[in-house]
Every structure is written in structure tokens, then in C-alpha cells.
């Protein structure tokens, strides 16, 4: 459950986001809109990476602005660029980092990491330098790390942009199929992917321009771009 009330963000006097009020209970939420319309900023307020300068956001009833740490335990985040998200030299070390942060006892870290590598098809790359993984493998690793924390809400900011058809579908499926166990917020320019969600938000110039059934929202957006 995500709720925003009069949410606004100003940075250096510029209004980046204004007056966003919405309640989202649907398991799969798509966020679309033009470059610079405020999508990423909205996504970032959901786990406190960006602090609201007006109004507030709640995730599962936790006020993100007041208790960003508690909110972050609930909200996993997947960035567009997996490079920036992979913090350790190898996949095994990177997953171990997340496992420890998620409170896995020291003795069980190795086995949890091995199981996760296996589940995401990365077992053969466990100790390969992370920079040398392919784009798809990197994004898989980033997702594997986020899901180790078993977040109740998963926010993904254009997670498939750098991927090919096959990998994009794989990551997309993993993201959307997990819904049910968790709520997923998917910021994307891939309108086919957005169409598979339960509700869509469209941002425009820092404002929430439309909320509704993905088909309609997307059709209107396409019409305008043409």
C-alpha cells in the first residue's frame, strides 16, 4: 500500500514534483511519462532517497519522511544502471553484503548466497569480477541482491532499458510475477511492459497527470507523443 498526500519536491528552488495525491493498493503499478517529468523523483520518495519538501508519502502505513530507515526495510529499489548498484567486486561478495544487511546470521550467509546465485542463474559467475558480467547478468545480480532483503514493496526505475528483448522479458517477468508476494512499482518507457500492470500513473511536468487502467493511460500517452 502506497499513499501520497500533497507530495511535493523542490530542489534549489525548482519545483520537481508538485501536489501528488494518490493511493495505490494494486500489486503492479506502472509509472510512465516523458523525460524529466518527475517519474524517478516520485519513485525515489518512496524509499526516502529523495525527501519531500511538501506533503508526505506512506508505505504500508509508515511515513517515509519521518522514518526513512523503517520505510527502507520495507521498500527495495532497483536502478536503471546496475553498475552503480553493484557495490562489491564479485557477485558472491555483493550478495553476501545484502544478506548480512538483511540480518542473515553469519553462519548462513554463504548458503543463502549460493542458493540465490543458483535461483538467478548466476552460479557459474559467483566469483567473476562483476564489471565483466553482461548487462543482463548485472541487472539479474542487482535484482537478486534486492530480493534477498524480501522487501514488501519493490520499486524499479527503468530496470530493462539496457537489456535485449530476451533479458528484458526475463527481468520483466521476474518483477511482475513476484507480485502477490509483494507490491511492485515499475517506472518504464517500455509501454508493453507497462501494459502488463494493474494500474498506471502518468507524470507530466512534475505533476500526476493521470491515474487509471494501463490501456487507457498508455493509449493517451502514445497519442500525444505522435
Amino acid at each position: 500500500m502506497i499513499e501520497a498526500h500533497g507530495l511535493g519536491v523542490e530542489i534549489d528552488g525548482a519545483t520537481i514534483l508538485a501536489d501528488v495525491t494518490v493511493a495505490l493498493a494494486e500489486p503492479r503499478v506502472a509509472v510512465i511519462g516523458r523525460n524529466g517529468s518527475g517519474k524517478s523523483t516520485f519513485a525515489r520518495t518512496l524509499n526516502g532517497l529523495v525527501r519531500p519538501t511538501a506533503g508526505r508519502v506512506e508505505v504500508d502505513g509508515v511515513d517515509v519522511g519521518r522514518a526513512p530507515k523503517r520505510a527502507r526495510e520495507r521498500v527495495g529499489f532497483l536502478f536503471t544502471q546496475p553498475d552503480a548498484q553493484i557495490l562489491m567486486p564479485t557477485p558472491a561478495e555483493d550478495l553476501a553484503l545484502s544478506a548480512r544487511a538483511a540480518g542473515v546470521p553469519r553462519g548462513e550467509v554463504a548458503s543463502r548466497v549460493a542458493a540465490q546465485l543458483e535461483a538467478f542463474g548466476l552460479a557459474a559467475h559467483a566469483n567473476q569480477p562483476a564489471y565483466s558480467l553482461s548487462g543482463g547478468q548485472k541487472q539479474l545480480l542487482a535484482l537478486a541482491a534486492v530480493l534477498l532483503g524480501a522487501p514488501r514493496i519493490l520499486v524499479a526505475d527503468e530496470p530493462t532499458t539496457l537489456l535485449d528483448l530476451h533479458n528484458a522479458r526475463r527481468i520483466g517477468d521476474l518483477l511482475l510475477s513476484g507480485a502477490g508476494a509483494r507490491q511492485v512499482v515499475l517506472v518504464t518507457h517500455d509501454l508493453d511492459l507497462a501494459a502488463r500492470c494493474d494500474v498506471a500513473l502518468r507524470f507530466e511536468k512534475g505533476r500526476l497527470a493521470a491515474v487509471g487502467a494501463p490501456d487507457e493511460i498508455i493509449a493517451a500517452y502514445r497519442a500525444e507523443a505522435a
Binding site: M88, P89, P129, A130, Y131
Partner: protein, 196 residues
């Protein structure tokens, strides 16, 4: 020969990026100490330039920082810049960064087939501390009128910080060598690629 000495594009980019890193470190936790010579995280960048880029490129990166300061950009800690930084009591240390970074590079890379922790640490201490102080202390003494001995004593205040920076530079360099060997010049990089 002339051909040989010409920088390739990636070298130029690395020089610019490391100069950028040294500048960026100037914004990190500027510890305000009342004194003539600031304590700064930038010397960490000077050490890293040497350990990662090797002598010539490291010297060039520090040289670029000097030029940026000279043309009036606020690239030194505390947002200072302008020609004045080469005229004040701290200017000896500042000038010392250039030979310092080059000495770090020489010690860590000259004839090296791989990066070792002891050469890295030695380089950081000798180039990043001893050489810098060797330039800094006499200039500070001359500009304040204080004796060399007394000035050297006051510079002891930097030693704990600089020792920590040398240790951090060593650890970071070894970690980078593991995480991203392409960062290093070709001979070292190749040795690493074959090693398990």
C-alpha cells in the same frame, strides 16, 4: 620517439578524471582547523593517482589541478583557488603534490609485474608524505619566518591524518586491482589477467 610519448585518448580521459577526483575530494569533510595549512582529503587523491595511474599520468593529473587552481577555479579544499594558492604558506605542500604523486607512481609501478601491498604502502608513505613534506616545510618556514625545526614540529599535526590516508590508499588500490584490473597500466594488468 615523439610518437611513443604521445598520450592516447584513454590516458587523457584518465588524467582528467583523476584530476576531477582530486578536486571532488576537496569537498569531502573539510576539517576546519585554524592554521596556515589546511588538513585535506585531497592528498588521498594524490596518492591514488600515483598508485593507479603511474608516475607520468599521475604527475599530469596533479598538474591539471594546479592549472585549474591557477585560472581561478575553487578546486582546493574549502573552495579556494586563484593564483594566491601558489603564494601562501601552504604552497610548498601544494607544489610537493606533483613530485609526490610521481614518486608514488614510480615506487608502485616501475618494473612491477603486479601490484603488491608493500610497494603500494611504501609508495604512499614516501611519495605521498615524505616528498610532500620535503617541499612543504621549507616553504612554510620561509613564508612565516619560523625556523625549519619548529615548522617541522608543527607539521607533525598532519602526520596521523596522512598515515591514515596512506593506509586507506593502499587498501583501496588493492581492492581496485581486484575489482577492476583494466584501470591499471598494461604490464600490471596483463599479469593480473593471467593470474588466477
Amino acid at each position: 620517439m615523439a610518437e611513443e610519448r604521445q598520450w592516447e585518448a584513454r590516458d587523457i580521459a584518465r588524467i582528467a578524471v583523476f584530476a576531477g577526483i582530486i578536486v571532488a575530494l576537496g569537498f569531502v569533510a573539510p576539517i576546519p582547523v585554524p592554521g596556515l595549512v589546511p588538513i585535506t582529503a585531497q592528498t588521498l587523491g594524490v596518492m591514488l593517482a600515483g598508485t593507479v595511474l603511474g608516475a607520468r599520468r599521475a604527475g599530469a593529473a596533479v598538474g591539471v589541478v594546479f592549472l585549474l587552481a591557477a585560472i581561478g577555479l575553487p578546486v582546493l579544499s574549502g573552495g579556494r583557488g586563484g593564483l594566491g594558492v601558489f603564494l601562501g604558506p601552504a604552497s610548498g605542500y601544494l607544489i610537493g603534490w606533483l613530485p609526490g604523486a610521481m614518486v608514488v607512481g614510480l615506487i608502485v609501478h616501475a618494473g612491477a609485474r603486479r601490484i603488491t601491498w608493500w610497494r603500494t604502502a611504501l609508495g604512499a608513505v614516501v611519495g605521498g608524505i615524505a616528498v610532500v613534506y620535503a617541499f612543504g616545510i621549507p616553504v612554510q618556514a620561509a613564508s612565516t619566518g619560523l625556523g625549519l625545526g619548529e615548522t617541522a614540529l608543527t607539521s607533525l599535526a598532519f602526520l596521523p591524518g596522512d598515515a591514515i590516508k596512506a593506509a586507506v590508499a593502499t587498501a583501496l588500490t588493492l581492492a581496485l586491482y581486484r575489482a577492476y584490473p583494466p584501470a591499471f597500466p598494461a604490464p600490471v594488468r596483463r599479469a593480473r589477467a593471467v593470474a588466477p
